[in-house]
Every structure is written in C-alpha cells, then in structure tokens.
C-alpha cells in the first residue's frame, strides 16, 4: 500500500496538529501521575464535562476561544474541589482506592452528562470552522492551527510554572519526597489539590480547542483517555516534555495508521504501541529509569 508523498505529508502535518491537543490532554494526566502517583480514570470524563461546558457557553453566544480563560479558571476550581473534597478523603491515601474512586467519578460524570444532554452527538458551527491556510503541499484547517499553537503555548507555560515559580517548586518537591516537603512546611493535600486543579484547567483549554473541530457527546472523553494513557506511558509517567513529544508522536502515528489501515483498525496501532511500551519499557521513552 503506497500513498502519494503529498498525502503522507498532509497526514503527518494533520497528525501533528491533533497530536498537540492530545499532548495537552496528556499533560494533565502525567502531572497528576507524577505528583500523586495515581492514574486518574476520571480524566476523560472531566474532558467530556469541559467540552459540554464549552458547548453550553457557545449556545449562550460565547465563542469557545473566548470561553477558554473563564472555563480554565472554573475547571481549576472544580479540580481543586474534587481532589480536596472527594478523592482525597474517600481514598484513605491508598493508591488502589484512588483508582476506584476516580473510576467511580468517571461513571458519575459521564452518566450525569448523559442524563442532562442525552446521548446525542453534537457539533457547533463557528464562522471560522472551515477557514483554511494553504501551505503549498497541504491545506490546514484554521481551528487546527489554533489548537496546535495554543497547546504548545500552554505546554510551555506549564513547564515554566513548574520550573520557575514557588508553586511549581512545591509541586515538584511533593512529587519527589512527600515527607521532606511536609517537613519544610509544604502542605501535600493542598499541593495535590492544586495539581488536580491545573490538570482540570488544561482539560478545559483542550475542550475549547477541540469543540470547533470535533463533536461532543457524553462519552467523548473515552476516545481521548486511552490515547492520553498511551502518551503518558510513552513519554514516561510524570514527564511533561515527554507527554508533549509523546502526544505529537501519537498524533502522527494515529494519522498514518488511519491512512494505511482505515479508521477502525487505525486505533489498533495506538493500543499496540501502548502495550509494547508497557511491556518493554514501562518507564517510557523519556522517563528516568525506575
């Protein structure tokens, strides 16, 4: 099966665009994993909730790109509250309990969305939805370009936050050595909640970027969450640059395997990479050796 080079090139560029949003979804997941050492199974459901929030905002006349800031703030608060009030107290500090609590949360969120919005798949119509940019060898959809740009900026901002601010230092301290962090006056439960809040805020941004190019329904998060897991594992659990590069890589892989194997088997490529990475190099491509 040979495809003309320009189609392959277009698939790669498009994969990079999608991959940037994947990266943004994965960054939140890897951050939570790195700090709390848990896998947040509610990650996809929170993304779904954020997409519906953006959808409701659009219905109320607010463009998703304009809603991005306020929604990110709202979801930061939401994530903070969920960790502080539900996940923290309910899990008694045991990892496998966190797993179950977040699984329960995802069931609750997805089904509340289902109850409120029904299972219909919805899309929105924005004036720039079909604007394109001609790069010569490939036509790029404007919303995808925006998604790519904003994702990269947010990823960089997050990196800066973690490396250059006191909050970032506290987060990294708790991730490395919980006890030590407590001894120097950091309050780990607060840091956990902040981390969770940042993760949810990233999802809100991703949701606003996705809505103009994708559909939304109560189970939309599922489509992203396994991809995000793959990226997190590929990039090394807890590594933010790893998640960014892994996201771009997976975007390209998905786009290419969709091109060569068709849509239904295209997904298979992602899962197989996921399984292989877990089996052969569970620390990921960029993770430190365990």
């Amino acid at each position: 099966m040979l495809a003309p080079p320009d189609i392959v090139a277009a698939a790669i560029v498009n994969g990079l665009m999608t991959g940037a949003v994947y990266a943004l979804v994965a960054v939140g997941l890897t951050l939570v994993y790195g700090v709390l050492h848990i896998i947040n199974f509610a990650h996809g459901a929170i993304l779904g909730a954020a997409m519906f929030a953006a959808y409701v905002a659009y219905r109320a006349g607010v463009d998703p790109y304009l809603a991005m800031g306020p929604l990110a703030a709202a979801f930061f608060a939401l994530g903070y509250g969920v960790q502080r009030l539900i996940i923290g107290p309910a899990s008694h500090g045991e990892d496998r309990n966190v797993l179950l609590v977040t699984l329960g949360l995802s069931i609750v969120i997805e089904n509340l969305l289902l109850a409120v919005f029904s299972s219909d798949t919805r899309t929105i119509d924005v004036p720039y939805g079909f604007s394109t940019l001609d790069l010569g060898f490939v036509l790029l959809a404007l919303p995808k370009m925006v998604a790519f740009g904003v994702s990269c900026v947010v990823g960089a901002a997050l990196w800066a936050l973690l490396t250059a601010t006191d909050t970032g230092k506290a987060i990294r301290a708790v991730a490395k050595e919980r006890m030590g962090a407590t001894l120097v006056g950091i309050d780990p439960p607060r840091v956990f909640a902040v981390t969770f809040g940042i993760s949810a805020a990233c999802l809100a941004v991703a949701a606003c970027l996705l809505l103009p190019i994708y559909y939304v329904n109560p189970r939309v998060g599922e489509a992203y969450v396994l991809v995000a897991f793959t990226i997190v594992v590929l990039g090394g659990m807890g590594s933010i640059p790893g998640a960014m590069i892994g996201g771009l890589l997976i975007g390209v892989v998905e786009s290419l395997s969709g091109l060569f194997f068709g849509d239904s088997l295209g997904q298979l490529g992602i899962y197989l990479i996921f399984i292989l990475v877990l089996l052969l190099r569970p620390t990921g491509l960029f993770g430190a050796a365990a």
Binding site: I38, I39, I86, P89, A90, S91, H92, D95, R96, N97, L99, L100, V101, L103, G104, L105, S106, I107, V108, I109, E110, N111, L112, L113, L114, A115, S118, S119, P218, E222, L226, F229, V233, S264, L265, Q267, L268, Y271, L272, F274, I275, L278, L279, L280, P282
Partner: protein, 321 residues
C-alpha cells in the same frame, strides 16, 4: 475434605434457590440470571483482584473470549453446545495465561497492570469488531434450537437453575482455593510480594495460576451469557461494562471474600433497579448513582457491604452482652 467450611455456601445457595423457585415473571427471572452471570464474572475477578491483589481493569478480555468462542464454534463450525462451552472456558484461560505471562513477566503491577489489561481488552474489542470470523460489527447469532442437546431451553427457568449451579460452583471453588496453600500464597503476594518472595513463594507462578483460574471462571460467565442470549457482539462481549461490573461486585460486596462477589452483584443489581425506578426513564441517572455508590463504598467500607454488615452485627452483639 470436610463439609463444614462449605456449610455457609450451602445455606446461601438454599436461600437463593428459594428465591429462584419463587420467580414467576420473566422479567424477574431475566434480572436474576443476568445478575448471576455478572456475579460469576465477579468471582473470577475476585480470585485475581481480591485474593492476589492484582487489580485488572480488563476482565472483558476473558468474558469476551468465552462468549465469542462459545458462539462462533456453534454458529460457524457446527460444534455442539457442550464442547463449545468447555472450549470457551479453556480459551478464556488461554487468553488469561497469555496476558498474565506477558504482564507479570514484565513485572507490571498496580496501575500499570490495570492499564495493560484495559488495553488488551480494547485490542480484543477492536479485533472482534473487525474480524469476519467473529461476524464483524454485526456480531454472531447462535441458531435458536431449544433442546437439552443444544443447551438451550424454551423457558427461562432452567437457565435460573444453571446459573445458580455455576454460582454455587464459583463459591465452592473460591472457598476451596482459600483453604489451600495456594490461597495463602495469593494473600501473601497481595499483602507483601517482596516478603512472600523472601519466604520462598514463587510470586510469578502464583500470579500466573491465579490469572488462569480467574480468566477461566470469567470466560465461563461469558459463555453462559452467549448461551443465554444466543447473541454476542464486540461491545457486549469485550466492552468496558463487564470489566467494570466484574470488579465492582467484589469491591462493593467485600474484596477477597467468598460471598463478596455475589452480595455485591445482587446489591448493585437491585440498587440499579431501584435507581431506575426512582429516576424514571432518564437514561444515565441509575448509572450515576452506581458510580456514587462505588465512591461511597470505597470511602466508608473498605471491606464492602458485607464488612459493614458484619461490623454492625458485632457492635449489636457487644451491646447485647
């Protein structure tokens, strides 16, 4: 083998049999059969997750393997229902062995093990959905031919007794494992793998045997499902729903206990019915309640519904004394 440890199981089965023999309506019978199939899948999960402490999020892989092998052998190869059923259970064990060998050999545990089982189940779902031999997206129908030789029955009643018999078998198997050295090894691996290893327990072999038995039992539930509904498709057989139900039953009912999966499956089932009755026809509300209950179960009762009941009974007895 003494009978004493199995007495409580006999009592439980007798109570269930009484309830089953009172079943008059088809809807009720249907609900009980489905709940018992889920309970059997839960017993499978419980051996690996509850006793050995290896949380799988992908028991759909085994359930689906059982369901598909049972259905495809009959529908496509004209195999009789009974050998098909037996082969389905074996196939489930085979899938379990393969997944277990790969994951445990690679040293995956905790979140990593949960994730890889999830991924394996998804891979199987996608393949079943695309493979012509499995009927593709249309699924596979077993030809309707109600007779004992085809393991199909006109009325729902025989299925009730069959499902009950398998639940009884799953409980007895769990008790048997629990009382053997192997059961002690499982718990040792769960509580502290390094310590178990230091004491000479071959942790890898123990986990492999656990996943073999666990997968076989869950595949049995899948084959029973196919035999009862005479239809499987990828999202039923390999869908995340069964992975979640298989783990929720034991967790809600009581992890690593003989009655946990049954108590949990029945409790969840009736709670679901209750939620549906309260919520009316709005889809999703009942499942949302499900999820909330899962969180509550983890938050309040580490030993599940059964643990709470036992705790309350103890308190009550202490007050009476």
């Amino acid at each position: 083998m003494t009978i004493r440890p199995y007495l409580s199981i006999l009592v439980a089965v007798a109570i269930l049999a009484l309830a089953v023999s009172l079943a008059r309506s088809n809807t009720f019978a249907n609900a009980i059969v489905t709940a018992m199939i889920v309970a059997i899948a839960g017993y499978g999960w419980n051996l690996l997750g509850g006793y050995a402490g290896q949380f799988s999020f992908g028991h759909a892989a085994f359930f689906g393997a059982g369901a598909y092998v049972d259905a495809v052998l009959q529908a496509r190869y004209g195999v009789n229902a009974y050998p098909a059923f037996a082969l389905a259970v074996l196939a489930g064990a085979g899938v379990g062995g393969a997944i277990g060998y790969l994951s445990f050999r690679a040293g995956l545990r905790g979140s990593y093990f949960a994730l890889i089982t999830l991924a394996f189940a998804e891979v199987m779902r996608i393949i079943a959905n695309a493979a012509p031999i499995a009927g593709g997206a249309a699924g596979t129908l077993i030809r309707l031919d109600p007779s004992l030789t085809h393991f199909q029955f006109q009325s729902r009643l025989p299925y009730l007794w069959i499902a009950l018999a398998f639940v009884a078998f799953a409980m007895a198997l769990t008790r048997w494992v629990e009382r053997r050295r192997f059961g002690a090894y499982l718990v040792a691996v769960r509580e502290n793998e390094a310590a178990a290893r230091a004491l000479g327990v071959d942790a890898l072999a123990v986990k492999l045997r656990a996943i073999l038995v666990s997968a076989a039992l869950t595949a049995l539930a899948g084959a029973l499902y196919a035999q009862y509904f005479l239809f499987v498709d990828a999202s039923i057989a390999f869908g995340p729903w069964i992975s979640i139900e298989a783990l929720m039953g034991p967790i809600v009912g009581g992890l690593g206990t003989v009655f946990g999966p049954l108590v949990g499956a029945l409790a969840l089932h009736f709670l679901g019915e209750f939620a549906r009755a309260v919520a009316g026809r709005i889809p999703g509300v009942d499942l949302a309640l499900f999820g909330a209950l899962l969180i509550l179960a983890v938050a309040l009762a580490r030993d599940g519904v059964q643990g709470v009941a036992i705790g309350l009974a103890r308190k009550w007895r202490a007050r009476g004394a």
